[in-house]
């Protein structure tokens, strides 16, 4: 019997706790609606601060997408030894193509190479005078697109160079290395800027909540005097932080989408002129939800710190 009563009280307590959460949820929303100017200003401030790392992400991942395209263009040219004939070159190309690091490899006849060279350079008269074709047979190989780190590309290059039929390997690894290093720098900048701005957002929210607590001093005092616990007093403020975080992040996503739409209008023309299909990365639903959830949690966390600090003043 006694157990049953305890169980009943526990259930009632849980229901009350849940109801106070709903009440706090409504109360904080009401406060936001009743003081719309202050709320909108703060949410916009958060949105602008948050839109900077998000746009950095959009730009960075678009550039990365572009360099991935360039990566897939990376081409290894193998100049074969003089004594290697075309048939052997074709066999070698086949065996190279069967390597797992290589996407495809084709042998190019030295006569065809010379013709192409003539055509491209317009050097007919000079090449006419050559006693024989100075070019060897070639193999042009493309590494797998998934092979993108410098070390494995370098390993592939030296493996090909070490083949006895190969005289020379032309592969612009240095350029690739520079690009990767540059991307790493941009990536680092992106992280630092994001962390600094997230900190700024947490401080904005904490400051607004502190101010809200101060302006509700009389109310908090009364509620404490009729027996409210700190958790009870804290709850509506946590929801205020939540509202700021969620509306700030939604506004930020709108700002970024709007900006990328505007920019997209001009990049389409630009990239079509360069024959590239460059496009700004659009934010996935997953990422957008992640941003909204994290910003809401950040809001709650910042509010918690601010209120808890302020509540030390009340007994």
């Amino acid at each position: 019997m006694k157990n049953k009563t305890t169980q009943g009280t526990l259930n009632t307590q849980a229901i009350l706790w849940f109801e106070h959460h709903i009440d706090s949820f409504k109360l904080s929303l009401n406060r936001a609606i009743n003081g719309p100017v202050a709320f909108i200003f703060t949410a916009l401030m958060i949105a602008i601060a948050l839109s900077i790392p998000i746009s950095l992400y959009v730009v960075f991942s678009s550039v990365q997408q572009l360099t991935n395209q360039w990566d897939s263009d990376k081409q290894i040219t193998l100049f074969l030894a003089d004594q290697v004939n075309y048939k052997q070159a074709q066999q070698l190309a086949e065996s190279i193509a069967s390597k797992k690091e290589i996407a495809n490899a084709v042998a190019i006849n030295k006569q065809a190479a010379l013709d192409e060279f003539k055509q491209q350079m317009g050097l007919d008269s000079i090449t006419e005078n050559l006693p024989q074709n100075p070019l060897p047979h070639l193999i042009i190989a493309n590494p797998e697109a998934t092979l993108s780190d410098f070390e494995s590309l370098q390993a592939l290059e030296s493996e090909l160079r070490d083949m006895k039929q190969v005289q020379q390997v032309q592969f612009d690894l240095l350029w690739f290395q520079r690009l990767q290093a540059m991307l790493a720098v941009i990536n680092r900048i992106q992280w630092i800027v994001s962390i600094v701005l997230l900190l700024a957002i947490a401080l904005i929210i904490a400051n607004v909540i502190r101010w809200e607590v101060t302006s509700r001093h009389a109310e908090i005092e009364i509620i404490k005097l009729v027996g409210a616990s700190d958790a009870y007093v804290r709850r509506p403020f946590l929801y205020s932080g939540f509202w700021l975080g969620i509306s700030g992040s939604v506004l930020a996503l709108i700002i970024v989408s709007l900006c990328s739409w505007l920019i997209q209008q001009s990049t389409t023309t630009l990239s079509s002129l360069f024959g590239s299909d460059f496009q700004l990365t659009s934010l996935s639903i997953d990422l957008a939800s992640l941003i909204i959830i994290s910003a809401s949690l950040l809001g709650v966390g910042a509010a918690w710190v601010a209120v808890t600090h302020k509540l030390k003043l009340y007994r």
């Binding site: 009632t12 307590q13 009350l16 109801e19 106070h20 009440d23 009389a218 109310e219 005092e221 009364i222 509620i223 404490k224 005097l225 009729v226 027996g227 409210a228 616990s229 700190d230 009870y232 007994r315």
Partner: protein, 217 residues
């Protein structure tokens, strides 16, 4: 029920406000606390309500030492009390009903019981018809009665009132005091601070005289 043992309260800026207060309040007793302004009446009530911690001395509630309670124990201790203030301390962004319901909501009363209890409390202070009004629209006496309804709605065992009639005319003051008397008759222990000696002498209850922070007979 309440026992103060050698309570002292000293503020760094204003010196000793309470000195060696020994006081006992039995279950169901009603007591007036009087003295000139600045004699320490408010501070004494604040010490009993655990709003202020005493500099020295001990406070017992039902023979349990409550002097050094932590914050969460303080809030559950307050649930046993009803506090009435001179300046009412109502929340102006909520109506009368919600103001009175506040202790019930905070102290975890069953939501189904809340309207009944709030109306019973408002009925006792004769404000049943004002439950939807905003506190600002009420007169001083009415606001004070809302404050009293809020103090008694959760059936506290101890009622503490600090100058509850401070801003009211004599007739209203007498009405308010009679309300406290009514609550005392149904078993609530009450300690009421008032500087208005002529008002409280007529009630035939114990009167404690506070002068310069000391209890005098």
């Amino acid at each position: 029920m309440i026992r103060l043992q050698n309570i002292c309260k000293r503020y760094p800026e204003s010196g000793e406000i309470l000195a060696q207060i020994d006081l006992q309040l039995d279950d169901g007793e009603m007591c007036f606390l009087t003295g000139p302004s600045g004699s320490g009446k408010s501070t004494l009530l604040k010490v009993i309500a655990l709003i202020e911690a005493p500099t020295r001395g001990k406070l017992y509630f039902d023979e349990r030492n409550v002097t050094g309670l932590n914050k969460s124990s303080i809030s559950s201790f307050r649930k046993k009390m009803g506090l009435v203030f001179q300046d009412h301390r109502l929340l102006n962004d909520r109506n009368v009903f919600e103001n009175v319901a506040l202790p019930l909501r905070i102290n975890g009363f069953n939501p189904k019981d809340i309207p009944r209890r709030v109306r019973a409390a408002l009925d006792k202070v004769n404000l049943l018809n004002k439950e939807k009004s905003s506190p600002i629209s009420l007169s001083g006496g009415e606001q004070q009665r809302v404050g009293i309804a809020r103090a008694i709605v959760h059936r506290p065992r101890l009622l503490l009132a600090d100058e509850p009639t401070g801003n009211l005319d004599p007739e209203l003051s007498a009405d308010i005091m009679k309300l406290f008397l009514d609550f005392n008759q149904i078993g609530v222990t009450a300690l009421i601070a008032s500087h208005d000696v002529s008002l409280i002498t007529g009630f035939n209850k114990k009167i404690l005289n506070l002068d310069n922070g000391r209890l005098v007979n």
